[in-house]
Structure formats: structure tokens, C-alpha cells
Amino acid sequence: MTEMDLSALWVTLRLAAMTVIVLLVVGTPLAWWLAHTRSRFRPIVEAVVALPIVLPPTVLGFYILVALGPYGPLGWLTNLTLAFTFTGLVIASVFYSMPFVIQPLQGAFEAAGKAPLEAAWSLRASRLDAFLTVISPIALRGYISAVVLGFAHTMGEFGVVLMVGGSIPGQTKVLSTTIFSHVEAMEYAQAHAISAFMLIFSFLVLLGVYVANRRFPIHVS
């Protein structure tokens, strides 16, 4: 791997980690709300959350680019130009990977139900305490799926990164766009090395998750 490839790897890992962290913080309350609300707005929110699954990444990337630009709402609000920066890339990835974090969490919260929560309340645990000590351990598998899928999906994104990030080395150039530029420059050997790395990495991560699930099953009565 060249030095540029290594910097792209570093950007990619940082991007995926940041995205997952932001999504866990924002996604936990949202997923909890979706799992338990009786609001009639719920299907609308669910549809919006699921949009990135079906939308071409370029469409998503285009709108985020417009929103992040100096005349877009986000750019205007923050008075910053976020397009073509790492922060802008994180914001774009958060939207892009949102369903892959929200949906497993929502499923896990729905499966856990309100019963253990009420039991914890009856044992003097406050709302936050009950969530942290009872619901999140019961929903642990949902969290593992959310982290792995969110991380892997962010690592694999291409279209959105190209639209929003612009492939600036050391800042917004990630592995997937690096492969593309290698191929464009006919550097098949380098493209091969990174592609093989991503293939093996993704496989090992998923293998690790399935082995862990098997070895540490969570018993829900």
C-alpha cells in the first residue's frame, strides 16, 4: 500500500467510527420512539429513515451537497462551508447509514418490549437507569448489529462520498474512492490490494459477529 492508500484507510476508519458514534447517540432515542410510539407520524418517520436504502447515493449526495454548501440551510445556519470537508462527510454518512443503525435498534427495542422496563421502574430504577441497566443489555444483539452494519456500510459508501467529499487526500479521500482512482489510472495492482483488504476485512468482521452471537447468546424469557 502506498502512503496515500494508508491515509485513505485512516480517513475511512475515522469516518466509519464517527458516523457510528453519532448514529448511536442520535439513533437510540429515535429508535426507541419508533418502537413504542402510537403517533400517526410514525410511518412517515419510518419511511424517511428507510429512504437511503432505496435512493441512489448520488441523489442523497446531491441534496446533502446543496444543504451543506454556503447557500444551503446547514451551511447558512453554521456559517461554515461543510461541503468537501471531513465534517461534511460525517454528516452525509450519518444520513446514508441511518437505516442500518436505526432498524436493528428499533427491532431490538420492540422485541424487548415495555415489560422489563416496568419491572425496573417498580424496583426504583429511574428512566435512564432502567434503560442503561435493563433495556440496553437485553437489546445488546441489536446494538451489535447496528454497530457492525453501520460501520461496514459507511466503509463501503462511494456515491455519497464522491458527491459530498470530493476525494481530497488526507481529508475526504476514502478507500472506496481510492480504488476508483487506481482503476482509472490503470493501477490494477493497487486497486487489487485495497479491494482484497476490504473483502477480507468485511468478512472477518461479520464472522466475528456471528461467532460472538453464537457463543454469548442472550436469554430472553
Binding site: S122, L123, H219, V220, S221
Partner: protein, 363 residues
């Protein structure tokens, strides 16, 4: 004497709960009624798990809910122990950690009940290090009760904790509930639709029907109030009496009980003299005799009684409410009523063919 006062008015799409309760904060109160009568909803309202828009709830001097002032304490700030129909143990903790979950969350000076006490009363010492999914249904429910007790609650709410268990397991847990009430002096509100649980546990019954309060009072008073009798199902209990063991007659296989100066024979019981026992008499096992006839009878249990009230139950039978120092109901035929010419205030003798101890009761 300290009391619990509660008013709830909650509308659901197909159900309307409207209840005004006022109970002493002692003893075991059973909320009784057919399924769909609102027992569980009422219990959840008492705990604050369901919020009635105009609800009010006062326990002793503490106001837990007063919607007129916008007050409704969340469950985790109320000194309540709650046992659900299902055990709801936390699957990621051991039995010991489940027991300690609430215990760790109350202040040191509030801990009136110790782990050793609970483990002994509930007989769960051998389970402490187990994972919860390895326990039987009865064991899980005992742990759930123990977990609730270890928060040293001032009020224990039990929502049909035995509903999911078979009769043998029920008989395994009922004595525990009785013991924990006797030893720990915690007032209990117990939801049930099983008459056998009422007869064994209740000091007091609150009768619910379609979300409304039908009546409330001491167990025997409720069972013998003629207008409520239809609500207690097909088991026609004529009285539940808290008697005392007077003497044993092993040569005849009998035990004599004393109740308010009168005596009752039951099959020999392994209970020490002077001990209290709760017995029940079926109304169909009581027959009435006018005047003491000189002819000898094989019936051992004959009590002096005065007729209080007579009520027709169906085409052929009537219920007669008697006063034997406590209320007792006799179910007789209309024909007998006419033949004997029975009327209120008349002195009669009640011949009782069978007296059963409550532990023998099955459904």
C-alpha cells in the same frame, strides 16, 4: 387508622374504568372479578403505570397522584413492590443480581427487609447463583416476589402472580404469600379471579365488574351478602370463619374448633391447640331445623342461628342469611322454605354436614 384512597376514571377504546376506593392500609385485599372487569388496570393505576386523566391516589398521608394539581409520581419514586403476572426477571442477571437490583437502589436506612429474610421465607437459597432461564415457573415467580420485597415496600401489589402456574405450584406459593404478609406486615393488594385464592388469602374483597366497583368489605361479609353471591361463581361458599383449635379427638379422627363460643368438628388436623385455622362451609351443606327436636341426629355440627334475610336465587332455591355470631348462608329449596314457614328474625338451628379447611380447597 391509615387508609388508601383512590379515584380513577379512565376511558379506553372498548373499556371504561371508574372506581372510587377507600381501604385500610393493612391486611390482604383481593381485587376480584371476571376477566375484563378491570382488576389489572386498577392495579396499574394504583402503581402509576396507567395514568388516569383526573386520577387521585393517597396512601396514608402521602399523595401519590392528584391530577387536579398536576401531580403524578412515577412508579420508581413510589414505595411500591409490584409482582406482574409473568415473572419478568432480568435475563442478563443471576438470581442474586435480580434480587439485589431494587435493594441496591433504596437508601440504607430504608432497608427494613434483609436478603436472608426473603431467601428464607421464599425458600430460594439454593437458586441464588443460577441464571434465571434455568428456573421453573414457580421458582421464577418466587424470585420476582423476593425482588419486590427487597425494596422494603410500604405496599405490595400482586397481579395474579399464580395465574401462569399449575395447581401444585400454586399450593407451593400461596403459603409464602401468607407468611410474608404475617411476618413482614406489608399491606398487600392481590388481583385474582380464583375463588380458592380468595378463601385462603383475603382479609378483604373488592368486587369489580365491567370496570365498576360492585362492593368492598371483609371477606366473610362479602361472601355472605346475598346480592353479591352470584358474583363469586359456582362455588357456593356459605361462610369463611377464622376459628381456633379447641381440642383433638384422635379416637374418632376429629378435631374440635371453637368459633365465638360455638363448636365445630372437622376431620383430625395436625394443628396445635389454640392455633387459628380458617375454615369454610358450603351453603348447600347447611340445612335448617326449627326448634331443637328431641330425635337424635347423626349431624355433629349444630349451631344456634337467627334468620336475617331470605332471597330467592332461582326457580327452586333460596339463600337464607343466618346470624351465628357471624354471617352464614344456607341454600335450601323453596319448598322447604314454605314447609317450615321460615321468616326473618326467627330462631333456628343450622345443621352443618361438612366443614372444610381452606388448604384442602381446589378449583
Amino acid at each position: 387508622m391509615s387508609r388508601l384512597a383512590a379515584r380513577f376514571n379512565v376511558r379506553y377504546p372498548n373499556f371504561h374504568l371508574s372506581v372510587d376506593l377507600n381501604l385500610p392500609t393493612s391486611g390482604i385485599t383481593v381485587l376480584f372479578g371476571p376477566s375484563g372487569s378491570g382488576k389489572t388496570t386498577l392495579l396499574r393505576c394504583l402503581a402509576g403505570l396507567e395514568r388516569a386523566a383526573d386520577g387521585f391516589m393517597q396512601f396514608g398521608n402521602d399523595i401519590w397522584q392528584d391530577e387536579a394539581k398536576g401531580v403524578c409520581l412515577p412508579l420508581y419514586t413510589r414505595p411500591i413492590g409490584y409482582v406482574f403476572q409473568e415473572p419478568r426477571l432480568f435475563p442478563h442477571y443471576s438470581v442474586r443480581s435480580n434480587l439485589l437490583y431494587g435493594y441496591k437502589r433504596i437508601r440504607m436506612e430504608e432497608r427494613r427487609i434483609s436478603i436472608e429474610q426473603v431467601v428464607t421465607i421464599l425458600g430460594i437459597a439454593h437458586l441464588l447463583e443460577r441464571r434465571t432461564h434455568k428456573l421453573s415457573g414457580g421458582e421464577q415467580q418466587r424470585v420476582a416476589i423476593g425482588r419486590a420485597l427487597l425494596t422494603s415496600p410500604k405496599l405490595l401489589l400482586l397481579d395474579e402472580p399464580l395465574a401462569s402456574l399449575d395447581i401444585q405450584r400454586k399450593q407451593e406459593i400461596l403459603p409464602f404469600i401468607h407468611r410474608l404478609h404475617e411476618e413482614l406486615r406489608i399491606p398487600v393488594i392481590y388481583v385474582s379471579h380464583a375463588i380458592s385464592e380468595i378463601l385462603q388469602l383475603a382479609d378483604r374483597v373488592v368486587l369489580l365488574k365491567q370496570g365498576k366497583l360492585v362492593g368492598a368489605g371483609a371477606l366473610n361479609e362479602m361472601l355472605t351478602t346475598l346480592e353479591y353471591r352470584g358474583s363469586f361463581g359456582s362455588l357456593r361458599v356459605g361462610a369463611v370463619l377464622d376459628a381456633r383449635v379447641e381440642s383433638h379427638e384422635p379416637q374418632y379422627g376429629l378435631t374440635q374448633l371453637e368459633f365465638k363460643g360455638q363448636f365445630l368438628f372437622v376431620p383430625l388436623q395436625p394443628v396445635a391447640i389454640g392455633q387459628p385455622v380458617r375454615v369454610h362451609i358450603l351453603s348447600s351443606d347447611v340445612s335448617l331445623v326449627v326448634g331443637r327436636t328431641n330425635s337424635p341426629t347423626s349431624v355433629l355440627n349444630i349451631l344456634e342461628a337467627k334468620i336475617v334475610e331470605i332471597r330467592e336465587m332461582d326457580q327452586s332455591s333460596v339463600d337464607v342469611l343466618l346470624d351465628i355470631g357471624a354471617p352464614l348462608v344456607a341454600s335450601i329449596t323453596r319448598k322447604s322454605l314454605a314447609n317450615l314457614g321460615l321468616k326473618p328474625d326467627q330462631q333456628v338451628f343450622a345443621h352443618i354436614k361438612a366443614v372444610a379447611l381452606n388448604e384442602e380447597l381446589t378449583e
